[in-house]
Amino acid sequence: PLFSQSTKKSFSTDEKPTSFKDITSYCNFYEFGTKKTDPSEYAHELQTTPWTVDIDGECDKPGTYALEDLLKPVTIEERIYRLRCVEGWSMVIPWMGFTLADLIKRVQPNSNAKYVRFETVYDPDAMRGQRSDMLEWPYVEGLRMDEAMHPLTILSTGLYGKDLLNQNGAPLRLVIPWKYGFKSIKSIARISFTETQPFNSWQQFSPEEYGFYSNVNPEVPHPRWSQSKERRIGEFMKRDTLMFNGYAEEVAELYAGMDLKRYF
């Protein structure tokens, strides 16, 4: 038990967390507008209680679950993760959450379940961005089953010890620290188990620029900008971007033998 405690601890970085103010005021959440400050300005218009999550597809326990019921059996723990945005900036965020694997095991996916597909809530009355056709709504993301089951992959309900604010994806969002931020889908309303690879929103928007995997990779540039460096919010000069955002030791084996230039 001592050993497992210490490996659990090692998931958190000891880097200095980005300020609460910056994390909650500099956000990409196009459902509320495309400016970084739009989400903090408009996200309060979304109602997050009560909240349900539809779970469907290739699993033995599909259904519409109340958020409280999903959270009842889990222990919320803190995970301090680096977050790297595809645009070239990064933060360190002290998330509160639990492993996605924990939830997946409970709904018992069957042997056809090769991928997990997520949807953000669709509520154009409350989400002004969804009234424009910038992206196709609802926002969709997806993971391969082994990525979804990885102990680094969490569902988050809070940060800095407090419940998530709407602009950060309340009441329930995904966090996958080795992938670009847009994979970490916010305000999740549906989780589906599928046999085929989900077509995520940004890939749909521009397939030559955004792929399904979207692993942080300093050696594979975005077609329009380099990914080799990033600006950590609060810092002056750029710093080097690390392979898999510094989580190579934990996740590189998931992609052994894969051509990461092709599967970007």
Binding site: K21, D22, S25, Y26, Y30, T34, K36, T37, E87, W89, M134, L135, F205, P221, R224, W225, S226, R231, I233, G234, F236, M237, K238
Partner: protein, 202 residues
């Protein structure tokens, strides 16, 4: 339309000068008061680029406006506005070289060739350099007719500037679309006048 020369020179021009300087003051004050948001470097970089392009478009608006209002004096504002364009474009480039590239010239070089939007931005800036250098009355006199031809470089400069902006935007192309439309109108108007054989006022 016409203002008294003293009104034009002593009141209108200084007001315009301060207006064009306002974005700079805004940025300095914002840095001082820490109100530029979580990513002030990016904010400064983008704001400088925005204003370089906006002022360039406003400069190109002067000639048609002059004809429309029959306000000859407007031509006298071109130099100041053109130089402000160059000023913001230079600061924009300096910010890029310093904060984005850390003055690492080999990394700048590869960035220019890897990413078309950087190449277009750089090219737009290159077009502006001879315009700034030959903006003095002396140079104008010296170059004579050739000055006018040389200063037609402002047209490719604005086209490259707009494309530069368009390509860097991730998804929301509303603002570059507005600039592109304005550029199209301004250049088409000139082309149309040129075709009709009217003397170009550049």
């Amino acid at each position: 339309m016409q203002l008294k020369a003293t009104t034009f020179n002593n009141i209108l021009k200084p007001i315009l000068f301060l207006l064009l300087l306002a974005p700079t003051i805004w940025l300095i004050a914002g840095l001082w008061l820490n109100t530029l948001g979580a990513n002030p470097i990016e904010y400064i970089l983008h704001t400088l680029g925005d204003w370089a392009l906006r002022i360039l478009l406003l400069t190109l608006l002067l000639s048609p406006l002059r004809r429309l209002l029959n306000w000859i004096q407007l031509v006298q504002l071109r130099r100041m506005m053109g130089l402000f364009t160059f000023y913001y474009a230079s600061l924009h480039l300096l910010c890029y070289l310093w904060f984005e590239q850390g003055f690492n010239l080999s990394s700048v070089y590869s960035d220019v060739w890897d990413r078309p939007f950087i190449l277009f931005g750089m090219t737009a800036f290159l077009f502006l350099i001879p315009l700034a250098i030959t903006s003095t009355r002396n140079k104008m006199r010296q170059l004579g007719r050739r000055w006018k031809v040389l200063h037609m470089l402002v047209y490719p400069a604005v086209i490259f500037g707009v494309v530069h902006f368009w390509w860097l935007v991730k998804a929301d192309t509303t603002e570059p679309l507005i600039y592109a439309l304005l550029t199209f109108i301004l250049l088409t108007e000139r082309l149309w006048r040129f075709k009709r054989g009217e003397k170009s006022g550049a």
